[in-house]
């Protein structure tokens, strides 16, 4: 037996035993690469995800809503940090990760390439987008890679308020004036399909899924999670008195779940490839924020260097 295959065998034993892989453990190169891609995409999504909501902070309809939105966006910055840090344990540095985002080499969740046109979008995002994210993230708390799993435990715990504040916004609008209810319905109409797309391509077309499941990075397939999300969300829409924009949606007694219409994958791939309504705006905003912050990073580095010099002088004096 070659050395690598015996290492690989041991690695798979750890995975099969539901034990965790930690940064200094041997791991297949492809496992490392898959994790770097997934965790960095996840981190980028948290950071870019701040932009569509940031758009409404100054226009929130009350102080309560403004505080909630600020706290949510602040959480997302923190979640980006946890995830970048987990990713760095795999031997890639922060600067490279940011460069991959800024040059468009790395992707982030396509959902953030849609515009936030009305206040109801803050409700729909919290309810649907965070709902879909939670559906994806809860199983990741049991991911085979220790640092990622631990980061996800923190993220999930903190995120529990995000969805509720979104649903609360929807409840208030749905019970409000005719215009408010129409605004809530319009937001649901626009966010429903992109939310379903968040789970990724159908299992039959998903390139990375099989190994990710073998390695217990993922626990459930894209279609399984999407189905669960639909089954969970439709009764929530019913309670709001709102309708999901899918004429083919129907409860299937046999499978104890909903059948739903086909997803427009052309739209999905078009947005992934950079042609969504806001791709350019999001990336430009991110790059601009990074560039505008450069003087702060330079000043901090210069200050640290100066302090170190002062410290050295006082030590040798």
């Amino acid at each position: 037996m070659t050395q690598v295959s015996s290492l690989e065998e041991k690695f798979l034993q750890v995975i099969d035993a539901e034990d965790k892989i930690e940064p200094k453990d041997w791991m297949p190169e492809e496992y490392r690469k898959t994790l770097i891609r997934q965790i960095s995409q996840h981190a980028h999504s948290e950071i870019v995800g701040m932009l569509p909501e940031g758009n409404w902070i100054t226009r929130a309809p009350s102080l309560k809503r403004k505080l909630a939105l600020l706290a949510k966006v602040q959480d997302e910055a923190g979640h980006g940090l946890y995830l970048y840090s987990a990713c760095e344990t795999l031997g890639i540095d922060r600067e490279t990760l940011l460069e991959q985002l800024h040059t468009g080499k790395a992707k982030y969740s396509s959902i953030f390439n849609y515009p936030t046109l009305t206040w109801a979008d803050m409700g729909a995002i919290g309810w649907l987008v965070d709902g879909a994210a939670i559906m994806n993230q809860v199983p990741l708390c049991r991911c085979s890679y220790g640092p990622y799993a631990r980061a996800m435990v923190r993220v999930c715990k903190e995120e529990s308020f995000h969805q509720r504040q979104g649903y609360e916004i929807m409840t208030v609008l749905a019970k409000g004036s005719a215009e408010q209810k129409a605004m809530a319905q319009d937001a649901l109409n626009r966010w429903w399909w992109p939310s379903l797309m968040m789970f990724g391509p159908n299992d039959s077309d998903s390139t990375h899924s099989e190994m990710s499941i073998r390695w217990k990075i993922k626990r459930f397939s894209n279609d399984e999670l999407r189905q669960r999300f639909v089954d969970m969300t439709i009764p929530q829409a019913d309670l709001l008195g709102l309708t999901v924009p899918d004429p083919m949606l129907k409860y299937n007694e046999a499978k104890k779940g909903y059948d739903f219409g086909p997803i427009d994958w052309d739209e999905f791939w078009n947005v992934v490839k950079g042609n969504g309504p806001c791709n350019e705006e999001r990336l430009n905003a991110r790059v601009k924020a990074h560039e505008n912050g450069s003087w702060v990073r330079e000043a901090a580095a210069a200050y640290a260097q100066k302090q170190a010099q002062i410290h050295n002088i006082s030590k040798t004096a």
Partner: protein
């Protein structure tokens, strides 16, 4: 010449999947010796699968006197918690 060995703080991971946790400290002439001694002192009964040692002097700790201004502001930010938001009881999975 000062021959006092520096103090190292010792962190042990009890099993893969869990974080390293602070268990105590020891003096050692360098990091390698700290690691060896930590192994002898802190893992005699299978307490760990991984050890970190960090020079105590390299740890910057917050001042207990600052605790109120550091941590009290979080106390009145109840909107960071899920229970702050009204969701009807009939709503499942939230």
């Amino acid at each position: 010449m000062n021959n006092n060995w520096p103090l190292y703080e010792v962190f042990i991971r009890s099993k893969n999947g869990l974080s390293h946790k602070h268990v105590g400290s020891l003096h050692a002439s360098d990091a390698d010796m700290a690691l060896e001694n930590a192994r002898d002192v802190y893992t005699r009964r299978s307490e760990g699968v991984s050890i970190w040692v960090v020079k105590a002097a390299d740890i910057r700790a917050s001042d207990p006197g600052d605790a109120s201004f550091l941590f009290e502001p979080a106390a009145d930010k109840i909107y960071r918690h899920p229970t702050f938001y009204d969701v009807p009881d009939e709503v499942k999975h939230m």
